[in-house]
C-alpha cells in the first residue's frame, strides 16, 4: 500500500505540473484540523519538499480529500473551500512566467506565502505535541487534593433503613419495661407536639436516636415521639443515619430544612 502510494506520487511528480487528472490521495489522513493540516500531512507523509511543493499533485490530492468528506460541517467547510481555490490559483500561476520580483530583483515564488503559513502552522503543531507530553496534572502526576471540585462534593451520609430504626425503638422499649413507673395522670401528647420537640432538639445539632427518646417518661410518649420521627423522616425534614448494622442511629435535620424552623403539621 505504502509502496504503491509512493510510486503513484512519483509518477505524478514525473508526469509534470500539467496533470489535471484527479487522483486518490495516496495517504490516509488520520484526522485533520483544517486545510493547513491536510496539506501538511500530505506533504510530510509523501516526503515532499515543502519549499518546492508540487502544486498540481497536491491540489488534486487535496480536492479528492475534500470531495470524499462532503459531510464536513458547514461552518468548517468554508475554510476548506477557500484553500481549494487558493491551491488552484497557485497551480495556474505556477504555469505562467514569473512577473513579480522583490526589491532585489529576485523572482517571487507565488507559493511563498502558503509555505510560510504552513511552516508557521507546523511550528505550533509541534509545540502542541510537545506540550501534550509534559507530565500533566491528573493524567501523569497527581497532587494531594486531586479533584479541584472536592470542596463542593456533598458526600451522601449512609442512610438507615426502617428496620434499623424499629430495632432501635424496640431496644428502648425493652429498657422501659424494666423501669417501674408510677403514673397517675395520663398525659395526652400529639404527634404534632412531638414533631415540634424533635425539630427543636435537632436545631441544636444532630442527636442520637436513644438520646432523643431518653427524656420520654411514658410508653405513650415514646411511641408518640417515635411516630414524630417517622413522620419527619417521611417528609425528608430529617435524615436518619446509621453507619453500619446495629450501630447507633443518628438523626439530623436535612440540609435544605435547617432553616425551616416551623414543623410541618402531621399528615
Amino acid at each position: 500500500m505504502q509502496q504503491t502510494a509512493e510510486n503513484n506520487v512519483e509518477q505524478q511528480m514525473f508526469a509534470g505540473m500539467e496533470t489535471t487528472l484527479p487522483l486518490l490521495p495516496p495517504v490516509q489522513l488520520d484526522s485533520f484540523e483544517g486545510p493547513l493540516d491536510i496539506l501538511l500531512q500530505l506533504i510530510r507523509k509523501q516526503k515532499m519538499d515543502i519549499f518546492d511543493i508540487p502544486m498540481a499533485t497536491i491540489t488534486s490530492q487535496y480536492l479528492a480529500i475534500i470531495d470524499s468528506n462532503k459531510e464536513l460541517n458547514v461552518d468548517m467547510a468554508g475554510e476548506y473551500l477557500v484553500m481549494a481555490s487558493t491551491l488552484m490559483q497557485l497551480k495556474s500561476r505556477m504555469l505562467l512566467p514569473r512577473q513579480e520580483v522583490d526589491e532585489e530583483g529576485n523572482e517571487i515564488d507565488p507559493r511563498d506565502a502558503l509555505v510560510a503559513q504552513l511552516i508557521a502552522y507546523e511550528h505550533y503543531r509541534m509545540l502542541a505535541e510537545e506540550l501534550d507530553e509534559f507530565p500533566r496534572i491528573q493524567r501523569d502526576v497527581f497532587k494531594r487534593s486531586v479533584f479541584p471540585e472536592s470542596e463542593h462534593i456533598e458526600r451522601p451520609l449512609p442512610e438507615a433503613d426502617l428496620e434499623g430504626l424499629l430495632a432501635a425503638f424496640g431496644q428502648v422499649l425493652k429498657r422501659m419495661k424494666s423501669e417501674v413507673l408510677h403514673r397517675v395522670v395520663l398525659e395526652t401528647m400529639t404527634v404534632r407536639e412531638q414533631i415540634q420537640f424533635v425539630t427543636e432538639a435537632l436545631q441544636q445539632g444532630s442527636k442520637q436516636f436513644h438520646e432523643l427518646l431518653h427524656g420520654q417518661q411514658s410508653r405513650e410518649a415514646l411511641v408518640t415521639t417515635f411516630l414524630a420521627i417517622l413522620e419527619l423522616w417521611r417528609q425528608h425534614i430529617i435524615q436518619v443515619i446509621q453507619t453500619q448494622n446495629n450501630a447507633c442511629i443518628t438523626l439530623i435535620l436535612s440540609v435544605s430544612n435547617q432553616t425551616d424552623i416551623g414543623a410541618k403539621p402531621n399528615a
Partner: protein, 197 residues
Amino acid sequence: MLSKNIEALILASDEPLSFDKLRTLLERVEPVESSDVRAALSSLEEYYADRGIQLKQVGGGWQFRTAPACANIVKQLWQTRPPRLSRSMLETLAIIAYQQPTTRAEIEALRGIKVSSSIIGGLLERRWIKVLGRKDVPGRPHLYGTNKKFLEDFGLKSLQDLPDSSQLMEANIEQQEKLNLPEPTESTEHNEHEPEA
C-alpha cells in the same frame, strides 16, 4: 527542623507554596535566612527526586506530586480518566502560550481554520487561559494569555520553562525569516491570493 517545617508546610498547603510565602510563614515562628530556606528546599527536592512523591516547583510555587512513573498505578484509584485534550485545543493553547497576548483572529490565521467558541471556552473553563484585555483594533477583540493554572497543570516553573520554540524548529525558523512571515493581521504584501479571514 527547618527542613521538617518546610516539608510540612508544603504538604499541608492546598496550592503550590511560593518561596516568599514559605519564608513569611517560617518567619512568623522564628527568623530564617533566605539562603537556608533555599538550601533546605533543594536538599528536599533532591531527597524526593527518586521517590513516589516528588517535590516540584510549579507555577511559581512548591508542591508535592506523585512521580510520573507511578501514574498508571495512581490512576487505579479512580474510575474516571481525565478526558484527552483534542488537537485543536492543544494547538490553540500552544499558540496562546507562545504568542500571548494574542487574539482569536491571530490564532485562526495561524491555524488556518476557525477557532470555535467551545475551544476558547474550554480553555477558559480549565483556567489555563484568561482574558488579558482588549486589542486596540476595530472590534476590540479579547487578548488571551495563559494563567498560573496552566503552569501548574503542565508542571512548568514559569513560561520560560516552555520548550524553546526556536530550537524545536531551527531549520524552519530561518526559512520563516527569509520568507518574511506575513503578519496575521496586516498580511497584504505577498498574499493577494490569501484567503480573506
